[in-house]
């Protein structure tokens, strides 16, 4: 019998209205297992703004406040300030936003929060497009992917730009802790959530959250696809603590990106040449990550 080290308590209880196989639901479930009940969530417009469903199906056992699309970082700054004023010290404040709400419209408020050093965790659950409005591209949509605003056919060939490097942007703020995590690796995710909770100051978690309808794959494959993304180095698991980079899963037998992409219809139109371009981008990013680990092994970049 495999013994899991995940906490048994559930703060995401039955009754959500997410799609079958929703990665974002798993992301929240594992995050709250790590953070526990003394947590306040601020969530902007995104799938998660509606996933709780209507009463009595509402299924989140922690306080939830909705904020405007562009303002998650500012919202959690205000929540933390009020807790400080009231002398409440044992509550974790979390901004939980999608990739559009983080990498695009919410970037300004997020940067402000990081620069000020507000004591809160910012979580970007990344399903790589605006899924709540029906799959429009975001800054976090990967190169080549089909979305409704990066059409395929006519003059369109899918998204022409690579995915925005959010970790890079976050780390430019010299934050004490930032990490990537994946719904395929819950123990790693829970550990990172706990670590972020223990650190005073702004911390960031980037959680990879597959979306069956948006990426066009069969709903039982969510975890498999998330795992393939890590093993194909498309979405490496790593953390940066006080300027020191650490890779959390170094695939011994890396697989080609095509193994990951071929399961998803959003990449169905890609030619061999475009696949090679994608592979080259993934290799380049991985190479850069290895170099950051090497550079910071001896001496942290900050902290």
């Amino acid at each position: 019998m495999v013994k899991l080290s995940l906490p048994q308590e559930e703060y995401v209880v039955g009754g959500h209205v997410g799609c079958l196989g929703c990665g974002a639901v798993l992301a929240m479930r594992y995050l709250l297992k790590g953070l526990g009940p003394r947590t306040i969530l601020s969530i902007p417009a995104c799938c998660w703004a509606v996933l709780t469903g209507s009463y009595p199906r509402a299924y989140l056992n922690v306080p939830f406040v909705n904020t405007a699309f562009e303002s998650t970082g500012a919202s959690i700054a205000g929540i933390r300030a009020a807790l400080d004023i009231r002398g409440v010290e044992d509550v974790t404040v979390v901004g939980f936003a999608g990739d559009g709400g983080t990498a695009d419209i919410g970037l300004q408020a997020l940067s402000g929060m990081l620069e000020r050093g507000d004591n809160a965790i910012y979580v970007m659950y990344d399903n790589e497009a605006y899924m709540n409005t029906g799959t429009q591209r975001s800054g976090s949509t990967p190169l080549g992917a089909w979305t409704t605003t990066t059409p395929v056919g006519g003059a369109g060939r899918g998204k022409e730009q690579p995915k925005k490097d959010m970790m890079g942007i976050i780390l430019a703020h010299r934050v004490p802790y930032a990490a990537t995590a994946s719904v395929a690796f819950p123990e790693d995710l829970v550990r990172k959530a706990r670590k972020a909770r223990e650190i005073a100051g702004p911390t960031f978690l980037h959680i990879f959250s597959p979306c069956p309808p948006g990426w066009r794959f069969s709903s039982e494959k969510s975890v498999e696809i998330a795992r393939l993304a890590v093993d194909a180095k498309v979405f490496p698991l790593y953390e940066v603590e006080e300027g020191t980079y650490r890779i959390n899963r170094n695939p011994r037998k890396p697989i080609p990106v095509s193994d990951y992409m071929s399961l998803q219809e959003r990449f169905g139109h890609l030619t061999k040449k475009m696949m090679e371009l994608f592979q080259a981008e993934v290799d380049r990013n991985w190479e850069m990550l290895l170099r950051m680990v090497e550079i910071t092994e001896e001496k942290p970049l900050w902290g």
Partner: protein, 374 residues
């Protein structure tokens, strides 16, 4: 695209805009307007235009104004929350005199409200949402065909007067699918902003001697300096009450003095009417059905439909109020355009309102008409 189509209102609006010469779209996804962005992403590259998805709605309108100043006919579309974010740039477009079109496919508010359900709750924001004094032009389409037709009107008015023009649709007219007839290119009248008729050395970008000064493309030798600050006739900032007194009133007069030309409305069965129904946008259909049903019952009802809620058709409302015993304003908000009707009407004005989420059934309007008449 000339011919008959079966199309969503949002998509018809895209085709109307392209027919009017729009070649740049910048936008941000938001229900129930996203179909506009999606079709623009597909269509713009095919007609030699450009589509950009921007990082938020402030950026959307900023990019549109940029494109307009650089010579392209440009537009964006959004819904309530995004419309709120665009307010500062509406004022910028007014001040820069940058022609552009902004489409608001209204949904229930405040805030996120009802993303997938209709309302007409942004009508006053459309008029007054940006700070400072200005006039606004807004069209309110009521059918899929009008989404096409009014998009053309909006572009033509924007270009003629160098102003931002709004198309105030809503979730119902945006997402309903119906017949659309696209006329041939020759049948579609298309305007372009006034261009300078003088050599570069005599050109002034904000010539106060003309209500609508000519506009140039950068790089053609004409000096170009456009500022959001109160500016002199050369387009350079001048912080003074006297400059404000010459600039702002002119920006207002561009619309005020051409109101007869811009204002549009539709009157039906008003000749012998004893009660007048005032509607706009998607309420056109239920309103007309209610009036017909009232007539069958012997209630002498007629309808005034505002095609341009802004500038407000005050003369038709004044005329109507002199003819009927009472007016009923039926709109899907808790009371917005009714205030303007009351401002100009000389008879009692009643209101039938709803906070949004659904459109009125003709029977509800009929019941309200019966009540008004007694």
């Amino acid at each position: 695209m000339t011919g008959e189509h079966f199309m969503k209102g949002d998509e018809a609006l895209v085709e109307g805009s392209i027919a009017a010469g729009c070649r740049f779209y910048a936008g941000y996804p938001i229900t129930p307007s996203s179909e506009i962005a999606e079709r623009m992403a597909w269509r713009m590259p095919l007609v030699g235009g450009d589509y950009i998805q921007i990082e938020d709605e402030m950026g959307s309108l900023a990019a549109v104004i940029g494109a307009s100043c650089a010579g392209a006919k440009a537009m964006t579309a959004t819904s309530g929350p995004g419309f709120s974010l665009m307010m500062e740039h509406i004022g910028l477009a007014i001040m820069l005199e940058a022609p552009c079109v902004v489409v608001d496919i209204q949904r229930g508010g405040p805030s996120t409200g009802l993303p997938t359900l209709m309302s007409q709750g942004d009508m006053m924001q459309a008029r007054w949402g940006s700070h400072g004094d200005y006039e606004m032009v807004a069209y309110a389409p009521g059918t899929v065909q009008e989404m096409f037709d009014f998009a053309i009107k909006a572009f033509n008015t924007a270009e003629r007067f160098r102003v931002p023009v709004l198309v105030m649709g809503d979730q119902i007219v945006g997402q309903m699918t119906a017949r659309l007839v696209i006329p041939s290119e020759e049948e579609i009248e298309v305007s372009y902003r006034p261009l300078p008729d003088v050599p570069p050395e005599e050109y002034s970008p904000a010539d106060v001697s003309r209500l609508v000064p000519p506009m140039v493309l950068p790089g053609e030798g004409y000096g170009l300096h456009m500022t959001a600050l109160t500016h002199d006739e050369f387009g350079y900032p001048e912080t003074s009450a006297s400059r404000q007194e010459s600039l702002v009133p002119r920006l207002i007069r561009k619309i005020k003095e051409n109101e007869q030309d811009i204002v549009e409305y539709e009157e039906r069965l008003l000749d012998d009417a004893e009660v007048g129904l005032v509607v706009y946008g998607s309420m056109k259909g239920p309103g007309w059905e209610a009036v017909q049903a009232a007539r069958k019952e012997g209630i002498k009802a007629g309808i005034l439909r505002l095609i341009t809620p802004w500038p407000f058709p005050r003369e038709p409302v004044e005329r109507l109020s002199e003819r009927v015993a009472a007016i009923l304003v039926a709109e899907v908000n808790m009371g917005q355009m009714v205030h303007s009707v009351r401002e100009y009407a000389r008879c009692p004005v009643h209101h039938l309102g709803h906070p949004g989420g659904r459109i009125f059934h003709p029977d509800e309007i009929l019941r309200a008409l019966r009540k008004v008449i007694t």
